[in-house]
Symmetry: C2
Subunit: 329 residues, 2 copies
Amino acid sequence: MTAPLLSGTPNCSPCTLFDPVPTPVTRELPASFAESLAAAAARVEVMLDTLLGEQLLADEVARPGRLIAAMRHAALGGGKRLRPFLLIEAARLFGRDDEGVLRAACALECVHCYSLVHDDLPAMDDDDIRRGRPTVHRAFDEATAILAGDALLTFAFDLLADPATDEDADLRAGLTLDIARASGLGGMVGGQMLDLLGSAVSSEEADIRCLQSMKTGALIRFATRAGARMGGGGDKDLASLTRFGEIAGLAFQLADDLLDVIGDADALGKATGKDAALGKATLVELHGVEWTQDTLSGLVAEADALLEPYGERADILRQTARFIAERRS
Amino acid sequence: MTAPLLSGTPNCSPCTLFDPVPTPVTRELPASFAESLAAAAARVEVMLDTLLGEQLLADEVARPGRLIAAMRHAALGGGKRLRPFLLIEAARLFGRDDEGVLRAACALECVHCYSLVHDDLPAMDDDDIRRGRPTVHRAFDEATAILAGDALLTFAFDLLADPATDEDADLRAGLTLDIARASGLGGMVGGQMLDLLGSAVSSEEADIRCLQSMKTGALIRFATRAGARMGGGGDKDLASLTRFGEIAGLAFQLADDLLDVIGDADALGKATGKDAALGKATLVELHGVEWTQDTLSGLVAEADALLEPYGERADILRQTARFIAERRS
């Protein structure tokens, strides 16, 4: 029970398995997709700025300014906002695109940002830089970073349970339950624990998939499920969008692992070969680059098939699957 | 913004202001009260053991055993369970006493326990012992303690939003929103931040009251409000029980501060004079022991008056107010 974490040493030298690196064929995504992604990110930024700004300061309760500043540092000014984008686009598929959806998207982003703040802590991944800026514990201090993470997580539930997000209490309670399951012991936090245990856990395929589906998959799956529910999709729609979210999560992780092996460190803005150096088992390491690229293509095809019934309305989600699978940074 | 925390040095020597110590007159609480308190604590313990035990392990998702063990270490085996007791008794006042109430009480205790785990961390209060046992980061490690706190907080929302707690989604969403507000930036976490900032904040009475109402008051207030709501109390009942919770929170803090000055370190199981040594401003320091004891008596009288309409049914809540105000450990 009290064995030290991270006691494992790297069990293979980085980046020797996969040389020479094949160059995948990438179709160009339409400019309108990049515009949609950027526009959603801008809307999320403005809403987060409001939610973590004027609104808090206007309340009657005293708020510690240092904590608000740390929360803003964590949540504002960066990232592709992929999770909120997926939620927004899943809701738009069913014709809903209002402030309530944007608030739910911001709640999801708050959970993602809190997880980054805590993962970056010295006791965890000990990272100094995130999105080109000092991590929260570097810009402030460790205690403030722990509390800012706690406050962002709590604020996500505040947002989702608030009638301003949706007038239907069943939906609000449902979203709350769903995100709690996706981000807690059986989801993101549990996945992070398995990841920290590192070499202590097996490098069996099933175990790698389980870890990844918990650590990164669960929250992405929540995004498309939540969008479908907010948009008023039926049971079949919810099942399709849930599977779409699972596919997106799998593709996200495979692309991430692939980038770690074949990525351009400059374009990526972070070191490559990190997984191997840390002795982290990945599916890319297990099956090789070609298998991974084939699998990614298969996932994109499955996403296309799932979205087929929605016709052109699903174009952006279709492009999102390709974007995730083919991303180079 | 980046000034170091806790840079203040103690600004007075401990425990010289209030000698000699007057001995308050304490009426004996009925044995049945102690029994009620112990019985509720036992029920909470059994339910938490189930929720954080068999149930989790029976699920199909893989759970990291180390994280579950740390959550159980944090949540089981100790404490008076005062917050869950207040929730349970407030619900009983309106005739409800079922498993749903117990689940909500456990959710509240999970929030309380997570806050202790994070407050104990080296970057915060750096405590090695809690309830006579090693703190979570000492029994496990810092990373596990951070994640166990995160998972307990998240699990609290899981419990509250789950239909197994109540079939009424309005109530579930309402409780979720209420506990998020009580425990986040404008509540417990914000209060902890103000507390950490310590000597950097003012020692004005209003500021001390604000900090305390956020750090400890908000969650106690949630307890009685949640009980009244779950029991189906009307608007007037909710107002009365909300005020009762505020009184209980104030009394809890005043009694705590008083114990720090006049308490018996042996009976208390922790060092006294700690607030003064840390330079923490308290109302006891500001107004003296006699004022504090008078104020506590006034709070108990106000609680009695609030509960008057409920007659004998409110006996246990009445006794709880006295217990909180007069506690010696």
